[in-house]
């Protein structure tokens, strides 16, 4: 009777596919470039963005017109270490282009209004749609409000009234987000990127071993050999999965090394992506790194050509890009059962790891059980498909 599964043949197929993949230099380069360069580059970009924002916060600049009308206000702003600049005539244009974040116009009527005891108005001009200006805008609004309050307090004191009468509510802000948590907000992009690597790392190899084999017309000769469909599927999947795991590991190593050793601009934010996080990421990503090459292989074996198979995998691409983005905007914490949902669960666990939370055993069980069960199903389905192929 025929043997159901021969390890020797499966390993032969794995070795041949690995050799084939290693020989394909151009594809290999395209697989390895993103983790080696894109990851670190992308971190650099985020960091310099944060750095330029915190620079703004430290020395906010304000373009002022009519500073001679309110010397006391100007002195207050200078004491608050605001860099004051002269407001050019085409300021509206400059604000829209982002050369100026905020402008302040003090009208001529300011001193008369103050003298008459009327509310004296100043104009604060900005473009709220510009993200980079947000911090400076908020700070200027805060400073002007503070100045107004201070002024009001003095007026009340002059009239013999305690300032508390006009300010019955005092707000003391206590920000509960730990430094790790605010860092994790930005690092959620790292989680997204790492999860994406499990999707793309082994794709080229899996498609070449399935749709490519058909396109080259070498599938039929292979099916006539004694190799059983499940041996063929297992061998080819193992080759693609090995490449995928390698690419994911490289991506994580790239992030770790960049955050650890690269000369990133100093941002007073403790970014936690140490060995502990690398470990938690690896544990969470492994089942996906194993499952996805199998899915690619299945799609590939159904496609007539590599091009057709690539078109079909774009559905997976959509799932991988949309789910995490939806979660990013989600304001609530995900329910506990999310761990059982592939992609969404993995993304949730990755962000939790970044927040410095432990992974619970139940989460780990779910994060493995569902993808591994799917993996087995997909491999069996692919083998059945090959079997049918052989007996049309």
């Amino acid at each position: 009777m025929k043997p159901w599964f021969s390890w020797r043949r499966a390993v032969t197929i794995l070795r041949k596919e690995s050799l084939d993949a290693l020989r394909d230099r151009r594809t290999l380069l395209m697989i390895l470039l993103p983790p080696l360069f894109a990851g670190p580059l992308f971190l650099m970009l985020i960091f310099s963005l944060i750095a330029s924002q915190s620079e703004r916060v430290q020395t906010p600049a304000l373009a002022v017109q009519g500073s001679m009308h309110a010397p006391a206000l100007i002195a207050f702003l200078e004491r608050q270490q605001v860099t004051l600049k002269h407001l050019p005539d085409d300021y509206e244009n400059q604000i829209r282009r982002g050369r100026i974040d905020v402008a302040l116009i003090i009208p001529e009527t300011f001193p008369d209004d103050v003298a008459a005891g009327r509310a004296a108005s100043v104009q604060l001009i900005y473009d709220r749609s510009r993200d980079r200006a947000q911090v400076t805008i908020a700070q200027m609004e805060y400073l002007l409000t503070a100045y107004g309050k201070e002024w009001g307090k003095l007026r009340l004191l002059l009239r013999g009234i305690a300032p508390e009468v006009a300010a019955p509510l005092k707000i003391e802000a206590v920000n509960l987000a730990t430094p790790q948590q605010s860092g994790a907000l930005i690092l959620s992009l790292v989680a997204f990127y790492a999860l994406f690597a499990t999707l793309t790392g082994g794709m080229a190899v899996a498609l070449d071993a399935s749709a490519g084999e058909r396109e080259r017309q070498s599938l039929q000769p292979l099916l006539i050999t004694p190799a059983q469909p499940f041996e063929i599927v297992a061998g080819k999947w193992a080759a693609a999965a090995t490449v995928n795991v390698f690419v994911v590991a490289l991506t994580l190593a790239g992030f770790y090394l960049t955050l650890r050793f690269a000369p990133l601009p100093a941002v007073g934010m403790p970014f936690l992506f140490g060995l502990m996080e690398v470990g938690r990421f690896s544990i969470t990503l492994l089942p996906m790194a194993l499952l996805l090459p199998a899915l690619h292989f299945y799609v590939g074996i159904r496609g007539r050509s590599v091009r057709e198979a690539q078109a079909s995998t774009s559905a997976l691409l959509l799932l991988f890009s949309l789910l995490p983005i939806a979660q990013m905007f989600l304001q609530y914490r995900e329910p506990d059962w999310i761990a059982a949902v592939p992609v969404a669960g993995h993304y949730a666990l990755l962000t939790r790891a970044l927040r410095g939370e432990m992974l619970s055993n139940i989460d780990i069980v779910w994060v493995y059980a569902v993808p591994l069960a799917l993996l087995l199903l997909v491999l069996i389905a692919a083998a059945q498909r090959l079997n049918k192929e052989a007996r049309l």
């Binding site: 025929k2 020797r8 043949r9 032969t12 197929i13 041949k16 050799l19 084939d20 020989r23 394909d24 080259r216 017309q217 070498s218 599938l219 039929q220 000769p221 292979l222 099916l223 006539i224 050999t225 004694p226 190799a227 059983q228 052989a390 007996r391 049309l392």
Partner: protein, 249 residues
């Protein structure tokens, strides 16, 4: 040895296309059996059933003593097939392409290397041994595909239009090689739509038309039967006779 008994295969939604209809014949070892017929006569379908890639709707096929349906694995171990799909792995060298299939047939180490060396020599392709097969000519690709199909020295060899796209030199080399295999006692089936091709090489010719076996015998038998001097005319006379019969029925 191959034995077909009432082999049939239908295609199409309602089985309206009778690709192979009630074909029975024996192809003994030590002979080259030709499958001759126009395009669409059912040659490829017949060969695919013999190579276990298709399940017949009716009838049986025994290949090297094993049933092509119930003992598929054994049949696969005993046949070498040069099918219409003969793609190679372009990033692997000639030897790597051949060795891959050898390993799948369970050959390893010295036995594998010796067999590869023998095939490279017989097919006169030592110069190609360590070149990647990307950019090989039709003839070079065919040689690699044949070596790959015969790596396990199978007793039954199925060739589907092997001379398609080959130049005269390659065809001559292939003929010599196939005759040598016959003399070793192998059972060969050779399909073609070219009468002269089949007549020069084959010991027995099976003529197929519309999936049915309409004549079997040697080239001389056909010439005598149809009273035609040339082989081509004899072949046409056979096909025409069949068409008339079909028209009458």
């Amino acid at each position: 040895m191959i034995e077909l008994t009432h082999l049939s295969k239908r295609f199409g939604k309602h089985g309206e296309i009778h690709a192979v209809a009630d074909v029975s014949f024996r192809a003994p070892s030590g002979q080259i059996t030709g499958l001759l017929g126009p395009n669409g006569a059912g040659k490829t379908t017949l060969l695919r059933m013999l190579s276990t890639l298709l399940i017949p709707d009716e009838g049986h096929a025994r290949v090297a003593g094993f049933d092509a349906v119930t003992d598929r694995h054994q049949v696969r171990c005993h046949i070498g097939v040069l099918s219409d799909a003969r793609g190679l792995y372009p990033r692997l060298s000639t030897v790597e392409n051949i060795a891959y299939f050898g390993s799948l047939y369970g050959l390893t180490g010295r036995a594998l290397n010796e067999r590869i060396a023998f095939l490279l020599e017989t097919l006169d392709m030592q110069a190609l041994a360590h070149r990647k097969t990307e950019g090989f000519s039709q003839g070079e690709r065919m040689k690699v595909a044949i070596a790959r199909a015969l790596i396990h020295d199978p007793p039954v060899i199925l060739l589907d239009e092997p001379t398609n796209g080959l130049d005269v030199t390659s065809v001559r080399l292939l003929r010599g090689f196939l005759r040598a295999l016959r003399d070793q006692g192998k059972c060969l089936i050779f399909s073609s739509h070219v009468m002269s091709e089949v007549a020069t090489l084959c010991d027995t010719i099976m003529v197929l038309n519309h999936g049915r076996l309409i004549a079997q015998g040697t080239a001389d038998d056909f010439r005598r039967k149809t009273a035609q001097a040339s082989l081509e005319d004899a072949f046409f006379a056979l096909l025409e006779g069949d068409e008339t019969k079909r028209g009458a029925a």
